[in-house]
Symmetry: C2
DNA sequence: AAGTGGTCTAGACCACAGT
DNA sequence: CTGTGGTCTAGACCACTTC
């Protein structure tokens, strides 16, 4: 990374800066290496700190950098692929899945979820919090919404609190025969609670995976999973798991 | 939308501002309606324009707003679902697909694509540009990389230029029996050429869908599709197409 | 306490769309 | 031409981590 000034070009400075930095990352830095601080970098390239930050933001969005307040900016490892959407349909909480079940409470589902669950909007549902770890890092957090009608056997033990109840809900859910599932992926920004779980700041870019589980001709449950967009690449393997894309 | 000042709270101003604006969008604005300009809004909330812009950026990222230089900021319609990953594997360019074939040229594939195509990196491949329209808007642009070995019948007509050659490549590709496909989804930012196709500025957030097509035991083609993250929700329907999530 | 990234300000000028 | 959003500056202070 030289000390060259950014030349006057029609393309925005931060854009040019981004490509310069990107090339430098490829050629002159190792994964995990810490970059000079923002004030230093801005001075070196002869731009205001805000402009430099605009370039860094883009690079972080692309998964090239990781910035942590109070620590510094480091070169991020390549995104790892996290498997989503197995070939065979499966309920959440199958024996082999990568999720860790957390608390469960009764809530009124948010409007978009209520819409997916059917027109009985407003009635409270079980909401199970789950977290997914990969390589020792939290990569996703999920809220699974299960209507009371989907787990009729549950009330007997409903008094159980915390993750015990969450596991009970999943166990009851597995009694149903899964007929299919439907997924959507979209860009979002992390809500405060999700951000805390993912070790990010609120507003961080995330990939929101919404899954609708179908059984007995209706929607038996809806899962809203929030993946860190900076560190994850979602994989949908319709074929045998390929080592090439597993990253 | 009131004229209230943003109160002094521990949470960032732009974050609070975002929620205030978001609520206002729900209750006081219609889809397509044009908001007051940024200087006006900033004054109304008693913040600097940069701070106001930080809130608008988040809302645009979430698909709530649409900003166009020289025009103004409008309330965005809900994201529409675009179908990706059909239940049955299919080659690109199947008779019923939503893509429009464009030019075709010989290029050396970029490094990540070369890696997926196998170790014969560096050899030139056919690269077919395709575009996907929905509701009269461009939602995605794709580059399909096809090794010469996958379409041996082609050389005879290789001289044909433009979209004719693109269609010929697809036609030859269909001769192969598709054994499976593998998809990944990740967040990216639009390169200059993609941005132009998508009617966005360079750096706009996009969802990058990479598909590896498998035939004859190897990778027969790789497609890198770039979807507008602000207007699209990708749908992966493993079940019957549900009207609910189709948007 | 020192150093980092995160937020915020009050300006300025530019590029583009619609007259 | 006017009005819009997009870029950029040179500061200031805050929140957090580390020592």
């Amino acid at each position: 990374m030289g000390t060259t000034q950014v030349e006057a070009v029609p393309e925005p400075k931060y854009w040019h800066l981004k490509t310069v930095l990107s090339d430098a990352l490829d050629s002159e830095f190792e994964v995990g290496e810490i970059l000079p601080n923002e004030r230093e970098l801005a001075a070196r390239f002869g731009v205001a700190r805000a402009t430099l930050r605009q370039a860094l933001e883009q690079l972080e969005l692309e998964g090239r950098l990781q910035r942590r307040r109070g620590v510094g900016t480091t070169v991020a490892p390549p995104r790892f692929g996290v498997d989503v959407g197995p070939a065979e349909d499966s309920w959440p909480g199958a024996p082999d899945d990568a999720w860790q079940t957390g608390d469960c409470e009764d809530v009124e589902p948010p409007a978009p979820v209520a819409r997916l669950l059917g027109d009985d909007a407003g009635s409270p549902v079980h909401s199970v919090r789950r977290t997914r770890m990969t390589h020792g890092q939290p990569v996703a957090t999920e809220l699974l919404y299960v209507p009371h009608a989907s787990v009729p056997g549950l009330p007997a033990i409903e008094a159980a609190g915390g993750s015990a109840r969450g596991r009970a809900v999943l166990r009851e859910l597995h009694r149903l025969e899964l007929e299919g599932q439907e997924r959507t992926v979209e860009l979002g920004s992390a809500r405060a609670d999700d951000a805390r779980q993912l070790d990010r700041l609120p507003g961080a870019p995330v990939l929101v995976v919404t899954t609708r589980y179908l059984a007995r001709g209706t929607t038996a449950a809806v899962a809203v999973a929030t993946y860190r967009a900076d560190t994850c690449r979602l994989t949908f393997g319709d074929a045998q798991p390929g080592a090439l894309m597993a990253g």
